[in-house]
Symmetry: C2
Subunit: 382 residues, 2 copies
């Protein structure tokens, strides 16, 4: 594990909320109108007068708006605190950093656990299916409300990288630079398969009850299994071997079905702790959005990037087998074929997909220089 | 998919049963005595007078004794029919081929769904935990009863390969040659992790009921999820992409949680069909046996192979990420360090772990020559 950054922490932060004003509309990719839209977000640093220093951070499947600093009473900071703060990669002395919870999620933005105004009860499965594009459009509403017309950068790892790519494609004029990390331009059959197995684990838990469980027992067992599957895919063979190997939790084999190996205990612990902080229905919605993600559609990938105007820094990790480097390289190739300014870095790491959260020392160097150069280019053009 | 072999099929076959005679004992690795031992097996070809042409085939997790030929009324032959029969890799004109169901399984050998003589009801979880070594010792009892003192060869893929390795280590005098295919010398942390998630999927299904479900609804939902996870690990990224890609089962995205992608339909189908033919408790026992498998223990691997007297053919497949080639290479290296005659072949294949069942054209060439050379060596020594 790399050493934690010794830079200053951002201190206490509070979530804020964007609520779509009455009279405005939010139409999803499916054509369905969302009756109301709420977006939970946090900001770090100050927006400058020209509103030209905004950086949007997009979170992954189980992330949320709380990317940095501490909530009152919390012992652990936000999920990317190593990267966001004064003097860090996303330097809050220079940049205005925004992170918002995706719609379909369960951490303050509209999602299946929100109250349906027409019934006064949680939506459950009556919440409409959302896409990565819909998540982006909710972020766009938020940015419009803050008066931010152009992002200095949009960045994210995993599902966050899909949102970043979608921004560069859908709003080329609104994105000066884009940093997709450990991600893909479309979910492959294997990626869909892992999504589907997670969903099946939840939906086959009787407590799931067709998504209607908010006033009863939640489908914790199913969600825990889904999370356990996820965790295997987030680590690499190497990192699992180094961290656990065949080490036992007890002195010797007990010839029983209890937790015997350290790795079993770890997975059960991660599964059990996840169900305390995440909504099973949101797991369905968010994984579905990823499975729908397909910038390529029925064409050569480079057609998807026509008209894109951002500079790119694409980062992948050598041992990431869930979003393997070859998918990032295909993005790079397609961008290059459009004459787009793109830098590709493959960070050598044993941490698998989790590396995007752990390899912050190397990421910091790459991201801080990339942001600085982007800032200079943007200022020159003014 | 390679073309099916055009050689003759073995025709109709019937399962046979070995039942341990009264007075004999069967003590498991755990020290527990199994009150009775039954082994279901099939044989193909004729045992020669000197009983020197016997080949033992060991099956994988979801396999059984029915490796070749047809059962009355069946449309599909045994699981390795492409490899076993007249003129095939395991040429039944020359060799006497034996395949038996592992103990702990659910296809005729003693396992959790067998009747406990002390209660008159299925054992369920009171069946003792078994190891790969225990599976081998049950096969040894069977072979002793057939008067076979030395196998010409022992062969298996995946868990079958673990049994084959265990034979060569535990009974060096009883094994002239050994063919471990797509396997490992010990389950790694990642392999244990996949085992554990499958077990958790079953054990968190309320219908599992602590293993006591034989007179009620079986934990089909949990077992189906376990099988779906398994299937992802049996295929490769490449083979999934070629077979399914992002192809839809319907005309366009429905924005709902039904089966939308072909790959989702495939996984659900495989999950649902598996629960009709496999016992959930056996899934627990057999995966546990694999997780326990560790020839290395707390020493250098080559120490494990001291005293081994078999010749080896070790086969791995390039795209197998569940039992990756590097694990086979470690076996080869450790054998070489003991001066053992070993040939290593890595077959280039997109089929992932499933390749050991599908790449029979190349396997046939490798196996038939290896068996033939082994036969000649054995005859020369007589």
């Amino acid at each position: 594990m790399p050493h934690k950054s010794e830079s200053e922490n951002i201190g206490f932060v509070e979530p804020k909320y964007y609520v779509m004003p009455e009279g405005e509309e939010f139409v999803l990719e499916s054509g369905v109108k969302l009756p109301e839209l709420k977006v939970c977000y946090e900001t770090y640093g100050e927006l400058n007068e020209r509103k030209s220093n905004a950086v949007l951070i997009c979170h992954a499947l189980s992330g949320d708006a709380h990317a940095a600093g501490f909530h009152q009473g919390d012992k652990k900071p936000g999920w990317w605190d190593d990267m966001i703060g004064p003097g860090k990669a996303f330097d809050t002395d220079k940049y205005f950093v925004i992170c918002s919870n995706v719609i379909g999620g369960c951490k303050g933005s509209s999602g299946p656990n929100s109250i349906d105004p027409s019934t006064g009860k949680p939506y459950g499965l009556s919440f409409p299916i959302v896409s990565i594009g819909d998540m982006m459009n909710a972020q766009k509403k938020l940015l419009d409300s803050l008066g931010i017309k152009k992002l200095l950068s949009v960045c994210g790892g995993s599902m966050g990288g899909m949102q970043a790519l979608q921004w560069a494609v859908s709003y080329p004029e609104a994105v000066a630079s884009c940093m997709p990390i450990a991600t893909t331009y479309k979910h492959s059959a294997q990626q869909i398969a892992f999504g589907e197995v997670g969903r099946q684990a939840i939906m086959s838990d009787p407590a799931w009850n067709g998504g209607d469980y908010y006033e009863k027992d939640h489908p914790s067992a199913g969600l825990a299994v889904a999370r356990m599957i996820g965790h295997i895919t987030y680590m690499s063979n190497e990192s699992m071997e180094k961290k656990f190997g065949r080490v036992l939790k007890k002195e010797k084999l007990g010839y029983e079905f209890s937790t015997e190996f350290e790795v079993e205990g770890y997975l059960r612990y991660r599964g059990d702790s996840f169900v305390k902080r995440f909504d099973a229905n949101s797991y369905l919605y968010v994984t579905k959005a990823m499975d729908y993600f397909d910038l390529q559609e029925d064409r050569k990938l480079y057609h998807a990037f026509k008209g894109v105007k951002s500079r790119f820094l694409v980062i992948a990790f050598s041992s990431d087998w869930l979003y393997p480097p070859f998918q990032s390289k295909e993005i790079v190739k397609a961008l290059k074929m459009n004459g787009i300014d793109v830098t590709y870095c493959e960070i050598s790491s044993d941490y698998g997909h989790d590396a995007f959260l752990l390899e912050f020392v190397e990421e910091t160097k790459l991201v801080s220089h990339f942001l600085e150069r982007t800032r200079k280019k943007v200022e020159k053009h003014k």
